[in-house]
């Protein structure tokens, strides 16, 4: 049984490392006693283990400096020594976060985690909020800045959660390996844009058909589902990996077609419209804006909610301690004002986040209903063994096509809510990389679990997408890096001479590229160590009702006659409860 804290348990790690080291290191004099000493200290855990590790790092660093020919006495203060200071602080922080002081907290977390799916979501979102609160404090952001940062994280959480839920239907349930998500999103977004954009072209874009937005959205979803059908037809005949390549080729065909100058603007039956080519296409206005303003234009006046909320929040400052007050009229107190002012743009962003959350809930309900039904049961059976499903009379092709189309339609809708909400998009937003992001989020959450899909979306958005950017902001806020080198050699040269800061500055400057590397490494690590993700091992029964004996209580009844025993009514099968 895996708990969320297992990975930070030093004893566990030590056992693993030793096993690995045991295979490789042989026949070096003194190695065995040294290893035993190390193992002892390591397995003691806690402070001893951390001190040992830190000591090794320090000794190694000094050795390295000696071998590399540095004069330890003249090392500049910004040099390698600083590295060790940073490292020590990090390690100390890690220790505090994981060892005794954190124990009651971790125990409490574990309890809550097991409680329910809502608790899991609250735990993840709560931590995201806390971490971003810390970021905001570290950056000295006002309340408005914190709210802005949170609305951005929650926006990505919501859109990734939607996309991952749709992907989970494909991969987690039906076992269809779709890496063309970006293409289906693009179809949904562009179909919506073309259907609903005004017939009078603005300065920036091509004219649309001018249909009402709901029709545009419906059309986008249907278009994505129909393109899904076209893509699914080969799926019935191809191996999973060939199908994967067909889907990604499909998504590239879609993107390149949207990107082409030929279709930028065309006229069919007297109606002129187009894709806008590489420059992109403007979207119909986001209706959520109409809750706050009387129009879509930049000069629109606040209306409805806007006319009430904007003034309310604009001046929301609570003077807790007015200036000039004193304690008992003797000790002067510093003035303190709780500044809760929030800008209009942040308020409307939050409103959209609320709308998105409602859609996440809708996706979740739809997919849980799909999964917990005879339909989902057949999908699961197809994933497990398609021949069995066929031999029990299930027309597996029909199920696969319907599931694929449904998932693609949802991907189209998710794309509309994501890319279509921002007034403008271009084909560059639908590169295959976005597909891989969604996959990473799915794998983090655990394929097969709908709750896991939402958690995966939240973790991806918080920790991998928005997190690194804020880390950079915080670090650059506190450390003065001087000038940032623009090239890698320019950053490495000072590093070799002991100057760490330019190198760090260079890395931070490239944080978006580092994020890709991080995503890649996490993907590999997950596939190696925990391919089932956070919740993928969990049992989510595919039935429209709870599968317990009506009235009789689960299990029980007759006894085993043959002695082939499996623990009675074991709720959570760990794989060790197998035959005998």
């Amino acid at each position: 049984m895996s708990s969320p804290t297992e990975s930070v348990d030093p004893t566990e790690d030590a056992a693993g490392d030793d096993a690995a080291a045991g295979d490789d290191g042989r026949e070096i004099p003194g190695w065995t006693p040294y290893r035993e000493w190390f193992r002892d200290r390591w397995s003691e855990g806690g402070a001893t283990a951390w001190a040992t590790a830190l000591g090794h790092l320090l000794v190694g660093g000094v050795l390295f400096a000696l071998v590399a020919g540095f004069d330890l006495g003249t090392l500049p203060i910004g040099g390698s020594l600083v590295w060790f200071v940073y490292l020590s602080v990090t390690v100390a922080a890690l220790y505090v976060a994981t060892a005794p002081p954190a124990e009651p907290y971790v125990a409490w977390l574990e309890d809550r985690w097991m409680e329910s799916d809502v608790d899991k979501l609250l735990i993840v979102l709560g931590h995201v909020v806390v971490v971003f609160f810390v970021f905001a404090v570290a950056l000295g952001l006002p309340f408005n800045g914190l709210m802005g940062a949170l609305s951005s994280v929650l926006f990505f959480t919501a859109v990734y959660a939607m996309m991952v839920l749709a992907l989970n239907l494909h991969w987690g349930y039906a076992g269809v390996f779709n890496i063309g998500i970006a293409g289906f999103m693009a179809v949904g977004v562009y179909a919506m844009a073309i259907l609903s954009s005004p017939t009078e072209a603005g300065a920036a874009s091509v004219p649309g058909l001018g249909l009402p937005l709901p029709i545009g959205i419906l059309g986008g979803v249907l278009a994505a589902a129909i393109v899904g059908l076209v893509a699914a037809l080969p799926a019935l005949r191809l191996r999973a990996d060939y199908f994967a390549i067909v889907t990604v080729a499909f998504s590239e065909i879609i993107r390149l077609t949207l990107n082409s100058r030929t279709l930028q603007e065309f006229t069919i039956a007297g109606v002129t419209t187009g894709t806008g080519g590489a420059t992109g296409i403007t979207m119909p206005g986001n209706p959520v804006r109409l809750l706050f303003y009387d129009g879509f234009g930049a000069g629109a006046e606040p209306a409805l909610l806007g006319s009430v909320l904007f003034p309310l929040f604009r001046g929301l400052r609570i003077e807790l301690i007015p200036p000039g007050s004193s304690w008992l009229g003797v000790v002067p107190l510093p003035a303190f004002t709780l500044d809760l002012a929030v800008q209009p743009s942040v308020i409307s962003n939050w409103a959209y986040v609320v709308v998105l959350s409602a859609f996440v809930a809708l996706f979740y309900v739809l997919l849980v209903r799909t999964g917990n039904s005879p339909f989902g049961r057949v999908l699961k059976a197809i994933r497990e063994d398609e021949v069995v499903a066929k031999s029990l009379g299930k027309d597996t092709n029909r199920f696969k096509i319907v599931a694929f189309m449904f998932g693609c339609g949802l991907m189209g809708l998710g794309g509309i809510l994501w890319q279509g909400s921002q007034g403008f998009t271009n084909p560059g937003a639908f590169r295959p990389i976005i597909t891989f992001y969604i996959w990473v989020a799915l794998i983090i959450g655990g394929a097969g679990s709908n709750t896991g899909s939402v958690l995966g979306g939240a973790l991806f958005a918080g920790a991998l997408w928005e997190g690194p950017v804020y880390v950079r902001r915080v670090v650059t806020n506190y450390v003065d890096f001087g000038s940032t080198p623009s090239t890698f050699p320019g950053a490495v040269a000072p590093f070799v001479e002991g100057e760490v800061l330019p190198f760090l500055a260079f890395l931070l400057d490239n944080v978006s590229a580092l994020r890709f590397i991080l995503v890649g490494v996490i993907l590999v690590a997950l596939m190696q160590r925990r391919p089932e993700g956070l919740l993928g091992h969990r049992k989510e029964e595919a039935a429209a009702i709870s599968l317990t004996r009506p009235g009789g209580g689960g299990g029980g009844g007759s006894t085993t006659a043959d002695g082939d025993a499996v623990a009675d009514g074991g709720r959570e099968a760990d794989g060790d409860g197998g035959a005998r």
Binding site: L392, E541, G557
Partner: protein, 288 residues
């Protein structure tokens, strides 16, 4: 199934239809009354190897018919041809007078002709109950709209409750109800065999094709399985039982078909078959 297969089958089908003598059809019609499953001149070749060579037999309603033969006699291939896993090279399989040759596996299963597998194929990461509830035919919840739309879902839930009750009864009947909530992958070999048969019966089949249901099963469980089969037969199910073990067939079946080198060598009651010299020779000559 590849497109080439379908070309070959279509071609031979056409030829067979042209050349078919009228008496074969008459034979089929007569059998259909009390023999739901009729196999005529079945032939299946893989490349140059003929696995089934002109096999013809029928299975009587409510019977427990045994299909035996030494290794490589073509029993499993015959099974696969009947259930649509392989497409026969030539010949005809009818079920209640309907030609089911070359039909897709799931269509054949929907007609009420269901099989089990020689090596039990449970769905490992689904619970025993999920395995059971997958099987029944005509589930309204297999339509996505019914599963999603609130008003329509009520019917799905209603049906699920009925199915759940049936699944429990079936599990009790096979005495594996204590494992209902276990992952199927955690079951022992024998339990999987029981689950497999219970699952097949959840489809309400008329004829069940059992592919070596007793292979790898301990004697106690074997007894139990055979008891169940007899009991179900009394309730009106028809069974075609492929077995390697001569004794099992002889002690339990009233009608026995012996296959050898791809064709039917002998057919009749156990007594008739055991006294047939060719059968004895095939078994002693080949490996028993």
């Amino acid at each position: 199934m590849s497109a080439d297969d379908s070309v070959a089958a279509d071609a031979t089908d056409g030829d067979a239809a042209d050349a078919e003598p009228s008496e074969a059809t008459a034979q089929g019609a007569r059998d259909a009354a009390d023999h739901p499953l009729v196999v005529e001149n079945l032939r299946k070749t893989f490349g140059g190897i003929t696995a089934v060579d002109d096999a013809s037999f029928s299975v009587a309603e409510g019977s427990l018919t045994g299909l035996i033969g030494p290794n490589g006699a073509g029993k499993s291939t015959t099974f696969n041809c009947i259930t649509g896993v392989h497409e026969p090279t030539s010949g005809r399989v009818t079920f209640h007078g309907t030609d089911i040759t070359g039909m897709a596996t799931h269509e054949i299963a929907q007609q009420g002709l269901v099989r089990t597998f020689q090596i039990a194929r449970e769905l490992p990461e689904m619970t025993v109950l999920e395995n059971m509830m997958l099987a029944p035919k005509g589930q309204v919840g297999e339509r996505l709209t019914n599963a999603l739309v609130p008003g329509l879902r009520d019917r799905v839930v209603e049906q699920e409750e009925e199915l759940l009750e049936r699944a429990w009864q079936q599990l009790e009947f096979f005495e594996i109800d204590h494992l209902a909530e276990e992952y199927a992958g955690n079951l022992s070999g024998g339990q999987r065999k029981l689950l497999e048969m219970a699952r097949a019966l959840m489809t309400d089949p008329e004829v069940v094709l059992l592919d070596e249901p007793l292979a790898g099963v301990n004697p106690t469980l074997e007894e139990k399985l055979l008891d169940r089969i007899h009991e179900l037969r009394e309730r009106g199910n028809t069974f075609l039982l492929v077995e390697h073990d001569m004794d099992v067939i002889m002690n339990n079946c009233e009608h026995v078909i012996v296959m050898h080198q791809g064709s039917v060598l002998a057919e009749g009651t156990p007594e008739q078959v055991t006294s047939d010299e060719r059968v004895v020779e095939a078994y002693l000559g080949g490996d028993v």
